[in-house]
């Protein structure tokens, strides 16, 4: 509040003059439409020291971005591409909340530098949808209630996606082993297992 700490809200209006002149998060994406203005690109370069170009495909769509080397794939997905279905929970590869598929393989996107995903194909939870229709695996998690608060759910589903791709008819033990890298604090585990079993039983989890 500083000098304007009267906190009656009236002084606030003058601060709004600056509104809209900053760099919007999405303008860090140099997409093929060239939506960022020249000024914005310059500002961005100024902020992002040592930014490097990155091309990657996310949910079948190609993106060209400028990112700093330290930026993780999870940060790119959430903050640059606004794909917030991918969650950051531990931010150090311990819980699986950020699981996505990288060329079909489940990875912790918080634990992977975005530049290491260059040229690869990323599938996020949003990428499982066909239009607005759920993937059968997503349907299974609704039908069998494989979630409570839902925050770890995208990661759980992406882990299950890889598991079923490798092993379409897993046993209960194999499901527990395959899903062991994904923590659910609500502990919806029994119904997560049921959801994966149900999806496998439907045989169309691919």
């Amino acid at each position: 509040m500083g000098e304007n700490g009267s906190s009656n809200g009236i002084s606030r209006r003058k601060f709004l003059k600056g509104f809209g002149t900053g760099v919007v998060g999405s303008s860090m994406v140099l997409n093929s439409l060239g939506a960022a203005t020249k000024e914005e690109k310059e500002q961005m370069r100024e902020y992002l020291q040592n930014a490097e170009p990155l091309t990657l495909t996310v949910n079948r769509r190609k993106h060209r971005l400028m990112v700093e080397a330290r930026t993780t794939l999870a940060e790119v997905l959430r903050n640059y591409l606004q794909l917030t279905g991918t969650k950051i929970v531990c931010n150090q590869g311990e819980c699986g909340g950020c699981t996505v598929l990288l060329d079909g393989k489940a990875v912790y996107s918080c634990h992977l530098l975005a530049l290491d995903a260059a040229g690869k194909s990323v599938t996020t939870i949003e990428g499982l949808l066909t239009g607005e229709d759920l993937h059968p695996l997503q349907d299974a998690f609704v039908e069998k209630d494989g979630l409570q608060c839902g925050f770890c759910t995208p990661g759980q589903i992406m882990a299950a996606k890889e598991l079923l791709a490798k092993n379409p008819r897993p046993t209960r033990k194999e499901i527990q082993h395959g899903m062991a890298g994904n923590i659910c604090r609500c502990a919806a585990y029994p119904k997560i297992i049921e959801s994966v079993e149900y999806a496998a039983g439907m045989g169309n989890s691919q």
Partner: protein, 763 residues
């Protein structure tokens, strides 16, 4: 529409609350058994399932405003220190840094009742020192590293027992005992009760600090629009947070809108306003841009709540026939650096029939993050001690532990000295014992041959969870028949969205998917309380039913006007109103609205009053079957049966899920979870999800859930008791008793880790 304002008293997390509340006075009688209902009680899939599995659900952590900025917080690395100087000059030079807040440039906004938003006297590791707002998270993080702080490190104490010592460092001037004295309770004459006993056992039990660790960080995304502040907050209490924000910023409550559509768990840790929200709001107002602020996982384990630990000395006296004559319970536990509740004596006071009871709870300040309510505050710890020693007394008396509990069955609430609205604990004991195979208990304990020994144990549960007024709900019916229910509660992952749709659908006899439910928005919703204390479903479901019944009455009234037939000659079935005097005449509910001038028809409902002179409690018992590897000390829980009286089941599917969750969290509490502080440095050692052990999908036992109740008609028109907290209360105690039954040695300290088992066996 009849309503009045009454005095209302109910238990919420850490104490009884008494207040005035508006109640409905003309709500219908409670429903009959679930067999008589079409939608309520059925395993309806979550109506918010699509949003959650598709990744489109917007949590506070996900909210994006155009032009948004990011905040990061610098936190105290020491357990106890004072800021001598702070220099932000270098940090301010970083390109992209927009604002830095410290105690030097921020108003002294009161916090914790004894401190400030930024207090230069830092009382725990993780206490807030400064906030940087920048264009990106990385820039904010870079700038944090450049803030120079000179600390004066102060003597610290990080153990509740040590904090009681006379020469212990003082955390506050008022001393280390919160409130200056213990909280005590007494009935009968404890000395007399001990004299009357044939057997007296005394022992000391300890429980650890555990951390909520919900998956979603504590976070807010804030945006000013002129004088209006919108806060997307990961909170269990939108209205409480709204009013706290208004008070902190000294702005009118109607200028603050708090929104929470989804949240990634809370378990009690998100019932109050976080400092981060105010810090973000101050910065956002200053820079004229939205701010997203989130703590990180390390901070989740340091600064935003925990279940306080306990050291409990318990003395139980009983006669030869098993009659309890005395229970004396004395405990101390760590609140952390600011007020919280470490008391854990409610089970001793209330669970079993006993004329002479004395309890005292000391809540101690230490130099660590403050405690917060955590799923049934005080109860898992209290039951661990009480039901452990109770089993020991039973063994001494050569009685079956379950028979001993039945012998001391409390028919009335001895604390309030009044009857319960319902208590089906005998039924719960009976069903649970059958399901686990109670006769398979090892006699004597530890009698299995071989290295792996198995055993069975049980523990009881009591909780409040009857809820009460105020709770309001509004139903809006459009001309196309689509319906919207709006309520000021919040779904914290417990299925609130879904049961609200079910209750409305039940009354109006329409499909669940015709109903949209809007929760978690202070700008539009009738008031409901915070989601804690297992009060949400018992408070809100009756309000929704009340609103739906009132909507139905309006529709019948409308049809009566169309048909020019008295209302009592009309029948309502499947959303269609038929004229009984001429059954060829009927109107669907949408058709009634289409004949009205209103383009949306609105009905408001409220919860009714709780009955006078009765206590509302839930009851239950859990039975655990465990195996102990006596060579490694590893405990494996094979099976848990949960058998409970929780009033009416609203949704079988979400009920099972929530019970599983409570029981698995209880298993984590029993066997693995523990915040560890190094006493030499005062620093927390368990600040990530690798060192802080939580159950994974590989740790879960088989679980069976038995519900012996089917609605308590005295509570409300829906007869619901809450289930969130009952689910976790007896789990650890049941596991501990099963471990005793397996190995014949009592582990008196949670968590029951392999080293403790081996020490107990061979130490």
């Amino acid at each position: 529409m009849a309503k009045k304002i009454v005095k209302s008293r109910f238990y919420f997390e850490e104490g009884f609350q008494e207040h005035l509340a508006e109640v409905s006075t003309d709500s219908p009688e409670s429903w009959g058994d679930n067999d008589t209902l079409e939608i309520v009680g059925k395993p309806v899939s979550r109506i918010d399932g699509y949003d959650k599995v598709s990744g489109t659900a917007v949590y506070a952590f996900d909210k994006i405003f155009p032009n948004m900025t990011y905040a990061r917080t610098l936190r105290c690395p020491h357990p106890h220190a004072k800021i001598l100087s702070i220099n932000t000059a270098e940090a301010e030079k970083v390109k992209g840094v927009l604002k830095i807040l410290t105690h030097e440039n921020t108003p002294k906004i009161p916090w914790y009742g004894m401190s400030y938003l930024f207090d230069p006297h830092l009382r725990f590791e993780g206490d807030e020192v400064a906030v940087v707002v920048a264009e990106t998270e990385q820039i904010a993080e870079d700038a944090l590293q450049l803030i120079e702080v000179e600390y004066e490190e102060l003597p610290f104490v990080v153990d509740a027992g040590n904090a009681m010592e006379e020469d212990a460092p003082a955390i506050h001037e008022s001393g280390n005992i919160q409130g200056g004295k213990p909280s005590t309770y007494s009935r009968g004459d404890i000395e007399q009760g001990l004299k009357e006993a044939d057997v007296v056992l005394e022992d000391t039990f300890s429980t650890q600090v555990v951390i909520h660790n919900p998956t979603e960080f504590h976070c807010s995304t804030v945006n000013w629009d002129g004088d209006d502040l919108t806060v997307w907050d990961s909170t269990q209490a939108i209205f409480g947070v709204r009013d706290s924000i208004a008070r902190s910023l000294k702005i009118p409550s109607n200028k603050v809108r708090v929104i929470k559509q989804y949240m990634g768990g809370g378990f009690g840790s998100k019932l109050e306003l976080g400092k981060y929200t105010i810090m973000a709001a101050l910065a956002a107002r200053d820079i004229g841009r939205p701010v997203k602020i989130a703590v990180d996982r390390r901070t989740m384990n340091l600064a935003v709540g925990n279940r306080p630990d306990s050291v409990q000395t318990l003395k139980i006296g009983a006669k030869k026939d098993g009659t309890l004559t005395a229970i004396a319970h004395s405990s101390f536990g760590a609140a952390g650096a600011y007020p919280s509740g470490a008391g854990c004596s409610w089970p001793a006071r209330s669970m079993y029939n006993c004329a002479n009871v004395f309890t005292e709870d000391y809540t101690m300040f230490i130099n660590a993050g403050p405690g917060r309510p955590f799923r049934a505050p005080g109860h898992p710890q209290g039951f661990f001690a009480l039901d452990s020693l109770l089993d020991d007394v039973a063994e001494k008396l050569e009685m079956d532990p379950l028979a001993f509990r039945l012998k001391n069955y409390a028919e009335i609430d001895q604390v309030a000295n009044q009857p319960y609205t319902s208590k089906l604990l005998k039924e719960a004991y009976d069903e649970g014992a059958k399901a686990i195979g109670w006769e398979r208990r090892r006699k004597p304990a530890g009698s299995d041959q071989g290295a792996i020994k198995s055993g069975i144990g049980m523990a009881s549960q009591i909780w409040w969870g009857g809820g009460g007024p105020p709770a309001g709900a509004m139903i809006r019916l459009n001309r196309d028949g689509s319906l919207r229910v709006i309520a000021g509660t919040q779904d914290i992952g417990t299925g609130t969205y879904t049961f609200i749709a079910q209750v409305a659908a039940e009354v109006l006899e329409v499909p669940v998917d015709q109903i949209e439910v809007i929760l978690g928005d202070t700008a539009v919703a009738p008031y409901c309380g915070g989601s804690g204390g297992s009060t949400t479903a018992p408070s809100v479901s009756p309000a929704v039913r009340d609103a739906a019944e009132k909507m139905k009455a309006k529709l019948i009234s409308g049809a009566a006007a169309v048909f020019e037939t008295p209302e009592n000659q009309l029948s309502y079935k499947d959303g269609v109103i038929t004229d009984n005097t001429n059954t060829s005449r009927s109107l669907g509910i949408a058709e009634v609205v289409r004949k009205m001038r209103e383009r949306v028809l609105i009905a408001n409902g409220a919860r009714g009053e709780n009955p006078d002179g009765y206590s509302i409690n839930s009851f239950g018992a859990q039975f655990a079957d465990v195996s102990v590897d006596t060579e490694t000390g590893q405990v494996t829980v094979n099976r848990i049966v949960a058998s409970h009286d929780i009033g009416r089941i609203l949704n079988r599917k979400t009920l099972e899920n929530q019970f599983h969750g409570g029981m698995i969290q209880g298993l984590g509490y029993a066997l693995m979870e523990e915040r560890v502080i190094d006493k030499n440095t005062g620093k927390v050692m368990t600040t990530n999800l690798h060192n802080y052990k939580m159950p994974t999908v590989k740790d879960i036992p088989e679980m069976e859930i038995i519900i012996v109740s089917d609605g308590d008609p005295m509570i409300s028109n829906t007869g619901v008791k809450g289930i969130g907290e009952p689910a976790i209360i007896p789990t650890a105690a049941a596991i501990a008793n099963a471990v005793y039954n397996a190995i014949g040695v009592r582990i008196k300290s949670l968590p029951i880790t392999p080293d403790k088992v081996l020490n107990a066996l061979y130490g």
